[in-house]
Amino acid sequence: MVATVGTRTDSTSSAPARSSLRTRRRLGPGRPIRFGPTIGPLLLLTVWTAGSATGLLDERVLSAPWTVVTTTGELIESGRLQANLLTSVQRVALGLGFGVVLGTALALVSGLSRWGEAVIDGPVQIKRAIPALALMPLLILWLGIGEVMKVSTITLGVFVPIYIHTHNGLRGIDSRYVELAETVRLSRRAFIRRVVLPGALPGFLLGMRFAVTTGWLFLVVVEQINSTSGIGYMMELARTYGQTDIIIVGLVLYGLLGLLSDGAVRLIERRALSWRRTLAD
């Protein structure tokens, strides 16, 4: 940030020489740079490649980029990568699915009735105060170390942001719209469909973005505990054999999955909230 502003000051100070009439001091960071977001990662990749090529980076500390590429090829050829990827994606998808349904349902009940709020909101806030991963010992005791425990852990992590943000969205619906619904005599059903759900949607989608991040985070944790499949297991196994290349493949996979799912949520957000942006573009 500081660097950007600094650069900008330099260019404005040279501007009067070009055109004295149109010069105006800009306080923003300036115009966006083409392919700006890719510059940082490319730089990192260059440093990594240079380090590996010159031997400054020990193979045992960090495998060379080309090793990672060939390892990826081998993992795909043997089918290990696809199988583990599928397992991981399944866990997150199930956990997200259950968590979203649970969080939304609780938020609706709690947002639409005072009794619901009295019963539900307290326990959820308490649950939020306890670091979700601290519940794992209990979950393992209750549910074992199989898929049920893994999906449950992700579900429990995911439903909290969904609940919090959807509930906030619900509570934030303009009371004037509620009044309008009364004057046009909306039925309770129509009220929920036409006013409550669309009104809470921005909050829900914000919660969704947090939920996706949380889902992957919890996946990493549950997959490193007593797993026999999944990306985390693949990485854990690689650790015992000192295969940094496989660990990096796993990291890249996690990163790509995180980026992809966040992008998907943002796409949905843009579509579902198109009514908001109509004046902006």
Binding site: R176, Y177, R194, V195, P198, T278, L279
Partner: protein, 257 residues
């Protein structure tokens, strides 16, 4: 009750309010107020800011459940409300806003007709925030009239519009009301607007109807008409705007300590 323009003397009132009292905390806003509006009659309600116009209108709309008060309110079954803000749901397209809450197979078509009536045919699929303020308020009018109300309540519906748009809206509202003939209670702070639109103008002051004025100016009503000016002067007087500043009249028995 005296003879009213249009010769409708013996029609049963569409709205009857008797001894209506409303208060916030210990402040009495409406104080044993009586009011009748005949079917199809256009009544404008003037009053200083804070005199309780909105309080009265909200009581008629049944939107004041939390406000303490007593009195008789007799209104028709079909009541529509237009607020100062258009109050369109931003996430519903214009057409869906108009038919909000309507059921039945004819609703969609009625919605289209209603939009055409306010001059917005073809804008059915627009989002509310793509419309200008005047257009949004026209959608709100369409939404209220598509329900064929017997009573239309409007709380400073043009208050947020520019003067030019407001004049156009006056003509539109008048023609819509002539066609649909609901009883109308229009709250406004604009004396000229009241005279241009209404059959009868009331002034709310001290918690009750302090003055009443039949508007017998020839149509189209022109503020240059001497009778128009006469009525305006009279109403401004009733509102306490006489050129010299005066203390606002408080609701009676407001403070007894």
């Amino acid at each position: 009750m005296a003879t009213h323009p249009g010769g409708l003397t013996t029609v049963a009132p569409a709205v009857r309010i008797a001894e209506l009292t409303r208060s916030y905390d210990d402040r009495t806003i409406l104080d044993s107020l009586d009011l009748e509006i005949r079917a199809g009659e256009f009544v404008a309600l003037l009053g200083q800011s804070g005199s309780g116009k909105s309080t009265l209108l909200r009581a008629l709309a049944g939107l004041d459940g939390e406000v303490a008060g007593t009195g008789l309110i007799d209104v028709p079954g079909a009541v529509s409300v237009v607020f100062q803000d258009s109050r369109l749901l931003p996430w519903l397209r214009v057409h869906d806003n108009v038919i909000l809450g309507l059921t039945g197979p004819g609703a969609a078509e009625q919605g289209r007709e209603s939009l055409a009536e306010v001059g917005l045919a073809g804008r059915e699929r627009a989002w509310p925030n793509q419309l200008s303020g005047g257009e949004q308020q026209r959608v709100a009018l369409a939404r209220s009239l598509v329900r064929e109300p017997e009573l239309l309540l409007a709380d400073e519906p043009f208050g947020a519009l520019d003067a030019l748009t407001r004049i156009r809206m006056h003509a539109l509202l008048r023609s819509l009301c002539d066609r649909h003939r609901p009883a109308v209670l229009l709250v406004t702070h604009d004396v000229d607007e009241a005279i241009v639109l209404a059959d009868r103008v009331l002034v709310l002051d001290g918690g009750r109807i302090a003055a009443e004025q039949l508007i017998d100016v020839d149509t189209p009503r022109n503020s240059a008409d001497p009778r128009f000016a006469e009525i305006r002067a009279h109403l401004l007087g009733a509102l306490g705007v006489t050129g010299e500043p005066r203390e606002p009249r408080e609701p009676r028995e407001r403070s007894r300590d």
